[in-house]
Each structure stands twice: as C-alpha cells, then as structure tokens.
Symmetry: C2
Subunit: 133 residues, 2 copies
DNA sequence: GTATATGCAAAAGCTTTGCGGGTTC
DNA sequence: GAACCCGCAAAGCTTTTGCATATAC
C-alpha cells in the first residue's frame, strides 16, 4: 500500500475507487492541475462524476493529504507537504516551482516573531524574463 | 486632484463617478475587501451596479492602480504599490499584513538568480497562534 | 461629437448540495 | 450492517457580456 493510502487510512478517509484514481493522477502529475483538468485526466481511465472530483479533492485537502492553491482564477491542487514557491511567468503564464529552503526558513522566523506557527504558505511571484542583451 | 486620479489620467483611464467612488472606498479601507464588499460600501453613498463594480476593478487593475489577490475563494483588492505579505490567521480567518522589506529583498534576489525581474508577488501565509502558556 | 462607461438582465464558469442507490470497513 | 461515498441533476456564487443609454474629454 502506498504511503498516501496509508495516510488516508490513518486519518479515517475511506479508500474508494475515485479517491485512489485522483491520488494516482496527482502522484504522476508534475504540474498543478485544476479541478477540471484532474477530472479530465481521471476520466481517461475511470468513470467519475465532476461532483465527485470536487468532493474527493475537498475531502483529501481537509485531511491534509492535498494542498489547494488559488492561482489566476480557480483552484489548483498538489500533494501536501511540498514546501516550495510558485513563480508565475507573466509572459507565458506558466507556473514554475522554486525550491529554496532558506526562504522557507525566513518565512517561518518572521511568523514566529509575530507569535504564529507556520502551518502552510503559498507564495505567488509574478516575474518577467530579464532582457540579457 | 488626488495622486490616484492623476495616475488614472496619465494612463488614459477616464475618471467617472463610479471609478472615483471605488477609489475612495479603497483609499479609506484598511482591509482587503472583496468585490461584493466593495460594491456594498460604495452603495452606501452612490448608485452603482455590481457589473460596474467588476468592470471598474478590472480596469483599474489592468491600469496598475489596484492589485488583485485571490485569497480563500474570491478576489480581493487593494491599492497597488504596496509590497507586503498577507498572513491568514487560520483560527479567525483574519488577514493580517506583514511588512518586512528584508523578505521582499530576498524574494527579489531569488528571482534574479533565475533570470527574472520581480513584477509583483503575493505571499499568503497560513498560521496558527502559538500557545504561550 | 466621439469614444468609452454604465445599468440592467441574461449568461457563463466554478463549486456545492439533495437525494436515491452503491461501496467500504 | 452501519456509515460513508458516488452519480446525477439542480442550485448557488462569483464573474462576464450584450445592448441601449448616458457620460467624460
């Protein structure tokens, strides 16, 4: 049994066909798909209703298995526990991941100074490619 | 004429009654109101359609006068040019501003290393109050 | 006077929900 | 077997759009 499915069990999330299918899609995705896109991908191999996709994503997010991000206009999901930043390239609209533990540490410190404990964060940077000539 | 209105003129944004009213609300707001909330506040003193509120906010954002943030589930606005971070207190749902120029500088550096120039950013931190006793 | 903005109402997207039937543990 | 989940369809929100009228410059 995969690590994710074990986490679900531990948190009282029943492992149904649709849930396994959604998890599988997110495990094999290297991008940050929207609900519609996740639904489309799952449907390539399984039968699933759009409403179910929404419910599964909500349930898994609530259980801490997934993380929800609100990018340009709708929700996008990824597996939880990934602490990184998202750079939105303004020219192409692409979402790039930036992995910088030092930045995370700094954020954590800033919050601690304010008396908070960092639970999650979502950094959305907008950048333009520097002209180098 | 206020600084904001001058900026609008310079950028070819006609100064209509509804636009002045929306700007006035955002100038006097210390929070980050949603579209519905902005509409509600403007309507306390002026006649304005919801569709107009949306169009005004889109136009002013496009002109760089306002900044749009996608928080929990919908768009929120504030005057542009404010570089700070937003901390969402998970227990209360309140949005708190964190002003930390050092953090901004670090973000800028990280982007430069990647060949990008920082245009804008939106940092959404989720935190819980630390138990201090 | 012309280009652009507004109001209203209708429509378009994304997301949630009620209900009967089905599945997991 | 009980609790929970799924599919379908309908409804709820936020946001956009078409069109006739009104306004800014």
């Amino acid at each position: 049994m995969g690590r994710l499915e074990q986490t679900c069990r531990e948190r009282g999330v029943k492992l149904t066909q649709p849930r396994r299918a959604v998890l599988e899609v997110l495990e094999t995705s290297r991008d940050h798909p929207s609900v519609g896109e996740i639904h489309r991908r799952v449907r390539q191999r399984h039968r699933i209703a759009l409403a179910t996709t929404y419910r599964v994503l909500n349930r898994l997010t609530e259980a801490g298995v997934l993380t929800r991000h609100l990018f340009v206009d709708k929700a996008h999901y990824e597996l939880a526990g990934r602490r990184h930043h998202h750079l939105i390239d303004r020219s192409t609209g692409r979402i790039v991941e930036i992995d910088d533990p030092a930045l995370t540490a700094l954020l954590e410190q800033a919050l601690n100074r304010l008396g908070y404990r960092l639970v999650d964060y979502h950094l959305e940077l907008t950048g333009e490619v520097e002209r180098s000539g």
